[in-house]
């Protein structure tokens, strides 16, 4: 076996001063192989963005990262200086944000920004090379009349086109890993479907690894190879997409799946299974299971100690004392 492209071991992110510290990411570990998509899914505030920023080395100044190692292609990157990390971004790993304007500068043309992204890592390259690559990639991401677009400013493009430009920009230096944090959340559903297909096609063509962060279970099911369900800073369930969707073991995963109406499956007009209560505060030390208090299967024991990860096979795991196991084995797809 070759080393995974990305390996993250026991990542913690803490934000703010010691007395009112938010422990936003609480010891998560994962690997992504070359050409593979791992999707981290969870509700707002569970720590998805902090996870992606921690890997990119782009955490806010008030945040601190600790881990037992983050490596790309077997080489540790968590000890790198800001300078070295900045050299790596774009070249090895690149990020796609929800709002393209966080990555695009409104006062420069699309062409300027794409070429600059290239020349930063290829200072010796001729201007023509950068331009040729920009046109090539704009065409790849489905932008017609690409060479004319180079002279346009970001605000002259629709949201869907801007997102395509950001994808092209992320690809300028041929990275191995793309981290996409809610890349289609701000887009209309038809555009979303087209952008997700584009990412998938580019992944196949360039053998990209993708870390896809989303709150949308539909996107996860349709795009991910592997899934990690995140709750209150922890992974509460991981597995292949089929394992997690067809036989969810953790009550939170089941709760999420039962909460969304699914045309043709959910009884029309029937009651949806809402998850009662709210997420725990991440400023506190969490004793017991973080889902205790909202969980319909909880027993008093669940509030005690630390709930260990059960890992029946490599990559398949859950953090629960009363997982749905019997049902999982017999259920084969149909969620009730």
């Amino acid at each position: 076996m070759t080393a995974p492209l990305l390996k993250v071991d026991d990542l913690h992110v803490r934000i703010g001063a010691r007395d009112r510290q938010v422990h936003a990411v609480r010891g998560i570990s994962f690997e992504i192989a070359r050409g593979e998509t791992l999707s981290i899914v969870g509700e707002s505030g569970c720590g998805k963005s902090m996870t992606s920023l921690a890997v990119m080395g782009l955490l806010p100044r008030t945040a601190r990262r600790e881990s037992h190692g983050i490596s790309i292609d077997g080489a540790r990157i968590d000890g790198l200086s800001d300078r070295a990390m900045s050299d790596l971004r774009g070249l090895k790993l690149a990020m796609i944000f929800q709002e393209p304007m966080t990555a695009l500068n409104p006062v420069y043309t699309i062409g300027n920004q794409l070429e600059e992204a290239y020349r930063r890592h290829n200072p010796a390259a001729a201007r023509g090379d950068a331009r040729a690559r920009a046109v090539y990639l704009l065409e790849k991401v489905g932008i017609t009349a690409a060479s004319e677009r180079l002279n346009q400013y970001p605000h002259q493009l629709s949201g869907g086109l801007r997102q395509r430009v950001m994808i092209a920009m992320a690809l300028m230096c041929g990275p191995d890993l793309i981290i996409a944090d809610e890349p289609t959340t701000a887009l209309d559903v038809t555009i979303q479907a087209q952008i997700l297909r584009l990412l998938r096609d580019l992944q196949t063509e360039f053998n990209l690894s993708i870390l896809l962060i989303t709150h949308d279970l539909g996107i996860v099911a349709r795009t991910a190879d592997k899934v990690a369900v995140m709750y209150a800073g922890e992974f509460v369930e991981t597995g292949t997409a089929r394992e997690v969707f067809n036989a969810p073991a953790h009550p939170y995963t089941r709760g999420l799946l039962a909460a969304i109406p699914v045309p043709g499956k959910t009884e029309r007009g029937g009651k949806l299974a809402a998850i009662p209560g709210t997420v725990p505060s991440l400023t506190d030390h969490l004793e017991g299971c973080s889902f205790f208090g909202r969980c319909s299967r909880a027993v008093p024991d669940c509030a005690l100690g630390h709930v260990a990860l059960t890992e029946p096979s490599a990559g398949r795991a859950w953090r629960c004392r009363r997982p749905y196991l019997e049902e999982a084995a017999h259920q084969g797809g149909a969620l009730s």
């Binding site: 509700e43 209309d188 038809t190 297909r197 996107i219 969707f245 969304i260 045309p263 949806l272 809402a274």
Partner: protein, 332 residues
């Protein structure tokens, strides 16, 4: 037909005059075009469509916040133009997407919910308090939140406050503009359940604007699909989900990504062009993106075809256009 529809929208247009930039003068933007729409009592009528298609403008016209430029809206058989503002507001209330921006940050929950009673001069102090407590129970808010400020509540609780405020004067029709779009799915489920319960308990009629087709299928009875200001298809929810006809509706339904890992991503086959609402495409507004466009589409605007309560604007379903096209397609 038996009773008057609760709301009857007849050929309304809403046109804005927009500036095209420095020194470029102003141009009309037809945000809502020739819209006909009816909702009967007890019904949930959903309006779907991408951003900029005119959903909020239509909602604001129905809410009398920005009355139509032309056309007429009837509430229970009476022209809205002829009703006083307060008389109208007592029967029709809005619920917006982001309760945080629609609630006054410095006004307590109790005062927020009771405010419409004061505006409409309903009840005395004691009666208002009683109504407040009753409505809190109805929308599932604990009584202890009456003194809280909006920022002290969760997103779901804030949306309950907005719903309570809309319901306290006992309106007949709620116009909900993306009521759950800003919420997490577990909270969305609570609010959808609440809206369903309130509809049966209070006999409410809803106009529900959403971009989430799964939500439409779950709680609506009829659905209208908007594209660039026009309703391009309208049908019962059963019909539309079983047999969508308009190429845009078909793309929308395929884009609703259900959580099934055996299904991949749809190939919509739509072109990647984005029309300018100030200068919409000729003929069918959808033709530059449509995957089935043919000769007449860029030349003639499709007319409205109705059969069995299923209405749509697409040449593919217009027998006259199709037979003329088939007859002439040899020499085109």
């Amino acid at each position: 037909m038996s009773a008057e529809p609760m709301i009857d929208v007849r050929r309304i247009n809403v046109t804005f005059s927009v500036s095209r930039g420095f020194m470029a003068g102003r141009k009309p933007l037809r945000a809502v075009q020739e819209v006909d729409l009816v909702a009967h009592a007890g019904e949930t009528l959903a309006i779907v469509g991408e951003s900029g298609s005119g959903k909020t403008t239509l909602a604001n016209a129905i809410l009398n916040i920005h009355p139509p430029t032309s056309g007429e809206i009837f509430l229970d058989g009476r022209a809205v133009r002829s009703l006083g503002r307060k008389e109208f507001a007592r029967q029709v209330q809005p619920v917006f997407q982001d309760p945080y921006s629609s609630l006054n940050p410095r006004r307590s929950v109790g005062a927020t919910i009771m405010q419409p009673l004061i505006v409409h001069g309903i009840g005395d102090h004691v009666e208002r308090e009683q109504k407040l407590l009753r409505i809190l129970d109805l929308v599932g808010l604990p009584r202890r939140v009456v003194n809280a400020l909006p920022h002290q509540l969760s997103g779901g609780q804030r949306q309950r406050v907005a719903i309570a405020r809309a319901l306290i004067i006992a309106p007949k029709l709620l116009v909900c503009d993306e009521p759950t779009s800003a919420l997490d799915v577990s909270v969305q489920a609570q609010i959808l359940n609440l809206l369903q319960d309130l509809r049966t308990e209070l006999g409410l009629t809803y106009i529900l604007i959403t971009h989430n087709l799964a939500v439409v299928e779950h709680i609506a009875s009829r659905v209208a699909v908007m594209y660039l200001g026009r309703i391009v298809e309208e049908a019962s929810v059963e019909d539309l989900f079983r047999a969508p006809k308009h190429p845009y509706t078909i793309a929308l339904l395929e884009s609703a990504l259900t959580p099934d890992p055996t299904l991949g991503l749809p190939d919509l086959g739509l072109s990647n062009v984005f029309p300018n609402p100030i200068d919409p495409p000729s003929g069918c507004h959808f033709h530059p993106r449509c995957n089935r466009t043919f000769a007449p589409c860029s030349r003639v605007a499709p007319r409205s075809i109705v059969s069995d309560g299923h209405r749509l604007e697409c040449h593919l379903y217009d027998p006259d256009i199709m037979s003329a096209h088939n007859a002439h397609s040899g020499d085109l």
